[in-house]
């Protein structure tokens, strides 16, 4: 029998564990000089090293180490004075060496934490997520399995391999187990990943685009009876490509686990794949029999031993912490808590901030991002960051409205045009012939026409029944294709019919 979420959390306590993979935005790969630009022709960004040709050797990208240390520092970790790379051995066609260079028992950053604040029934509450480790590794290539029903290697007719991604620097951020979040587990997880993303963005170490895979979250979930100290069996959900999905995936897994446990069945330890459409997860690889990766220290690379002075320089150069930064913005913009939370929730804070930086009024910028633009994103079922409208576009639109060149209503048309790919706001205005009708002569002509068409309504207004004006104003706006300033129309109309406000 299907359980409700409330029934699940009344009986069970969820325990989380989150692994986040971050693709660094270094210009070159982790162990070779190849470019890391996303979306190039397959296999054009490769060399003997990342194709694992015989004889090729890795050499470490210093910038990647620097970025990782910065991440560690921002997550309150200690930086190991000595850490090593290790080989994780397993065969898979998209991994050219058939081992992945990673870090195993000697990671570069350990023991940190991130605090996240979420709204609870008792008001805002801070949850501390402890970080176990932050380590460096290389990404694999990409397999495209053609034919077969599932898009997976089994059953495929053939597979195509693109090694452009092979060797892209990855940082893996692993939490300790996170108990004690109760029914807020899905929100805490979402807030944690969101917070991480904001921190990483402020460090400028990654594009942090979940939809492009530069930030990927694997969510481990297990349940135990409330009060129990024993950990339940966990499942690991992969493929979680948005903040909203993090929340949905964990919620879905909690319900799935609880249903199994209530029936007296056991949870299988396995990886599961999140299905964006259904919000459910599908069974993947079993992890019951632990795979033996035969880790050993990578003999081709010398240990990483960052200089203490260098670490201090990086520490001194860290940007403002994301949470502090948000508080500062909230004060500067004088935004109420609820509106602030709405921006964070809708994932538009940085977009609003960027628009403000380009000269837009904070309230107006917030209005557009949270209003019209969010609405269009929802309609299209896309993330706001997927829309082609930029903070610069919004800043320009706000400026046009301020100068009277656009009304709010026309601005909505411009936004729609920009998102439809018609170009910059100025281009959309030109292309669609959008302009505010300021010519009183043209407006008067429209008013006279409308009054002639609707004499009864005009008569009512003449007799002092002002609420009837709305209908005629609407008709005038229609007549002018929405390009008139409604306030001006009202003024002219009332004057025309011998009335005053």
């Amino acid at each position: 029998m299907a359980l409700t979420y409330d029934e699940v959390v009344a009986k069970y306590e969820p325990v989380l564990g989150l692994e986040v993979h971050v693709e660094l935005n270094t210009e070159s790969k982790m162990f070779c000089p190849c470019s890391t630009i996303f979306g190039a022709e397959p296999n054009t960004q490769t060399c003997p090293v990342c194709l694992a040709l015989p004889g090729a050797l890795p050499s470490v990208n210093e910038k990647a180490i620097e970025s990782t240390i910065k991440i560690g520092l921002a997550l309150n970790c200690s930086i190991a004075p000595f850490s090593r790379f290790a080989r994780k051995n397993y065969f898979y066609p998209d991994m050219p060496k058939n081992f992945q260079i990673s870090q195993y028992d000697e990671p570069i950053c350990i023991n940190g934490y991130v605090d996240v604040e979420i709204d609870t029934d008792e008001g805002p509450k801070v949850f501390r997520i402890e970080i176990e480790r932050v380590h460096m590794e290389e990404d694999t290539g990409k397999s495209l399995h053609v034919g077969g029903a599932t898009g997976r290697i089994h059953g495929a007719e053939y597979s195509l391999l693109d090694y452009n991604r092979a060797g892209i620097p990855l940082v893996e951020i692993v939490t300790k187990i996170v108990p004690g979040t109760g029914k807020y587990a899905p929100q805490v997880a979402k807030a944690y990943v969101g917070e991480l993303r904001d921190i990483l963005r402020s460090l400028d170490v990654s594009d942090v685009k979940m939809e492009q895979g530069s930030l990927r979250c694997d969510a481990n979930v297990s349940l135990r009876l409330i009060g129990s100290q024993v950990l339940g069996t966990r499942s690991e959900t992969k493929n979680v490509n948005s903040l909203r999905s993090v929340e949905r995936a964990i919620r879905g897994e909690m319900i799935r686990h609880a249903e199994l446990l209530n029936k007296g069945e056991r949870v299988v330890q396995e990886t599961r794949h999140f299905q964006e459409e259904s919000g459910l997860t599908r069974s993947g690889r079993s992890k019951e029999a632990a795979e033996d990766y035969r880790y050993f220290p990578e003999p081709d690379l010398v240990p990483v031993a960052p200089d203490a002075a260098w670490i201090q320089t990086l520490r001194d150069g860290l940007p403002e912490r994301a949470s502090i930064h948000r508080k500062r913005l909230q004060e500067a913009w004088a935004v109420p808590d609820k509106e602030m939370a709405a921006m964070i929730n809708a994932d538009v804070l940085n977009l609003v901030e960027a628009s403000v930086d380009l000269g837009a009024d904070p309230t107006k910028a917030r209005g557009w991002w949270l209003g019209e633009i969010s609405r269009i994103a929802n309609d299209k079922d896309l993330a706001i960051s997927d829309l082609s409208i930029t903070p610069s576009d919004v800043a320009q639109i706000v400026a046009f409205v301020n100068s009277g060149e656009l009304t709010d209503k026309l601005a909505r048309q411009v936004i729609e045009g920009v998102i439809a790919g018609e170009g910059t706001p100025a281009a959309v205005i030109a292309h669609r012939g959008i302009k505010v009708v300021n010519d009183d002569g043209a407006l008067m002509a429209a008013i006279e026409k409308v009054c002639a068409e609707q004499p009864e309504t005009a008569h009512k207004i003449r007799n002092g029944h002002l609420p009837a004006a709305g209908a005629l104003i609407g008709a005038v706006m229609k007549e002018t294709k929405g390009q008139a300033d409604a306030a001006r129309v009202r003024k002219l109309l009332l004057a025309h019919l011998g009335q005053a406000e």
Partner: protein, 489 residues
């Protein structure tokens, strides 16, 4: 040769052609080469001659031909590492060693035979058939770099490049009466060296005398950003050391554990004789002990297979080399399996299995972990010994060249051949082998090994040059002048 080239007495093209002719004449018997790059070598030689004619300042070895072990990538030239799995593969890039050779205008004649992936001590493990020792064609030329050493002894090339993981430069040098040097780990870039055991592999010079080896050493050594383990420090002045050969006041430590039982009598005789000559030249002979050397072989056969099991994982038929079992309905997994089954030889498979096992969960600490501890102990043995002496010496190998086929079914006997050379690799220090004469009982060459502390490679050249000079005086002619004439074609 370099002098004659510099003086204009001979052109590089002529010198290269002479060697190509010699290869054509004798290599059907010796089988030192897997590929002879006639066109490439002549083109390179002509370019050097043109530079010389234009009055350009050239490196000391400019125009001299060289044989390259087939474990080094050379752009567009077949590179197999002695394995079927790489048959026909032409690398799209040059190894750093090849880049350095080109920069010094050294002419590359071709690629020499070797035990598959450098695993072996006899070159019998080559997928392309064994190389024969020019001293006696029924005997092995050492391994893994038997092709390079045989090419030198057969006068097919005056210089060669070898690689040494457990003795693959020094043991072939010993059994062919040539000079081979394994520099300090990290002295020569490994970029483009097809890895056997990354933490042990080291390329080095092979030649017919100590000075040639030193000249080649300086040509190929140096820091390379593409090899994270390469040494970022000036190359030791090995040429000056080889020219000096002054050992007065040097302390030479004889390793107690690398002598005695298990060493052929002729090997011991020549070794003692060499010590006397060095003493006469002004060196002080002392005895040093290295109690942990007895564990070196066992530890080596855990570390090297462990690393190779991972290094050789990339040969999966996906991107290059052999592909077996491909076709309608074949899965990637089955193609990988069939290719590796068909492409790797017995010894390679044996070591992959051994290494996979040693790294497995539950066995790692007992095997790989313990072997790394032994490695530390061996390094400490060297450190202690080098407090009492400047270099350490031993016979290079326990015996002279054995017969082809004699030990191929007895891996342990084969492995024991490297008992004196392996400690050097485990500690990452330098080792040289040079000829100490012929064993009276079989008339075959005996090698004398000199070991120097890390980053003090010049000391090997000092002692090597001193011994070489003393032996030359004694013999009246180089040892190789006694090599039987190859009938050839």
């Amino acid at each position: 040769m370099a002098k004659a080239l510099a003086a204009g007495d001979i052109t590089s093209v002529a010198l290269t052609q002479v060697h190509l002719d010699r290869i054509t004449s004798v290599d059907t018997d010796v089988h030192a080469f897997l590929f002879v790059d006639t066109q490439g070598a002549l083109a390179q030689a002509a370019a050097v001659d043109a530079k010389r004619a234009a009055g350009e300042k050239l490196s000391p070895l400019a125009g001299v031909p060289l044989a390259l072990k087939d474990v080094m990538t050379q752009k567009n030239v077949p590179t197999t590492a002695g394995s079927k799995i790489l048959e026909g593969w032409r690398p799209p890039y040059d190894s750093t060693v090849v880049t350095n050779l080109r920069a010094n205008d050294i002419v590359i004649l071709g690629k020499t035979n070797m035990d598959e992936f450098a695993m072996g001590s006899s070159t019998e493990n080559s997928a392309y058939g064994p190389t024969h020792n020019p001293w006696d064609l029924t005997r092995i030329p050492g391994g893994s770099g038997g092709g390079s050493s045989a090419a030198l002894a057969a006068f097919e090339a005056p210089l060669a490049i070898g690689t040494d993981t457990g003795g693959s430069i020094r043991q072939p040098a010993a059994v062919t009466g040539t000079v081979g040097v394994k520099p300090t780990y990290g002295a020569v870039s490994r970029f483009g060296l097809i890895a056997f055991s990354s933490s042990l592999d080291q390329a080095g010079p092979c030649a017919r005398n100590v000075l040639d080896a030193a000249l080649l050493h300086e040509a190929i050594a140096g820091y390379d950003a593409r090899d994270s383990t390469s040494i970022n420090a000036p190359v030791p002045q090995v040429v000056n050391a080889a020219k000096s050969g002054d050992v007065k006041g040097m302390k030479i430590g004889v390793v107690k554990e690398l002598n005695g039982d298990g060493y052929q009598s002729g090997v011991r005789i020549r070794f003692e004789e060499s010590l006397e000559l060095l003493a006469k030249a002004g060196a002080e002979i002392v005895e040093v002990s290295a109690p942990n050397f007895e564990y070196a072989l066992a530890a080596y056969y855990l570390i090297a297979p462990s690393e190779c099991s991972s290094n050789l994982a990339r040969f999966d038929a996906m991107r290059y080399g052999l592909r077996v079992g491909d076709g309608e309905g074949a899965s990637a997994e089955s193609v990988m399996n069939l290719t590796r089954k068909a492409g790797f030889g017995r010894e390679v498979k044996r070591r992959i299995i051994l290494g996979t096992y040693a790294l497995s969960s539950g066995y790692y600490d007992a095997y790989y972990g313990s072997a790394q501890k032994v490695r530390t102990l061996i390094t400490q043995d060297f450190d202690k010994a080098f407090q009492k002496c400047d270099v350490m010496v031993s016979p290079t190998c326990p015996t002279t060249a054995f017969k082809i086929g004699e030990k191929s079914n007895d891996p342990i006997a084969m492995y024991l051949n490297d008992i004196a050379t392996i400690p050097v690799n485990m500690a990452g220090i330098g080792g040289m082998s040079l000829p100490a004469g012929l064993a009276p009982e079989d008339g075959l060459p005996v090698g004398f090994q000199i070991m120097a502390p890390a980053m003090a490679d010049q000391r090997m050249y000092l002692v090597g040059a001193a011994l070489e000079a003393a032996l030359l005086t004694k013999w009246g002619a180089p040892l190789l002048s006694k090599i039987p004439e190859l009938r050839g074609k």
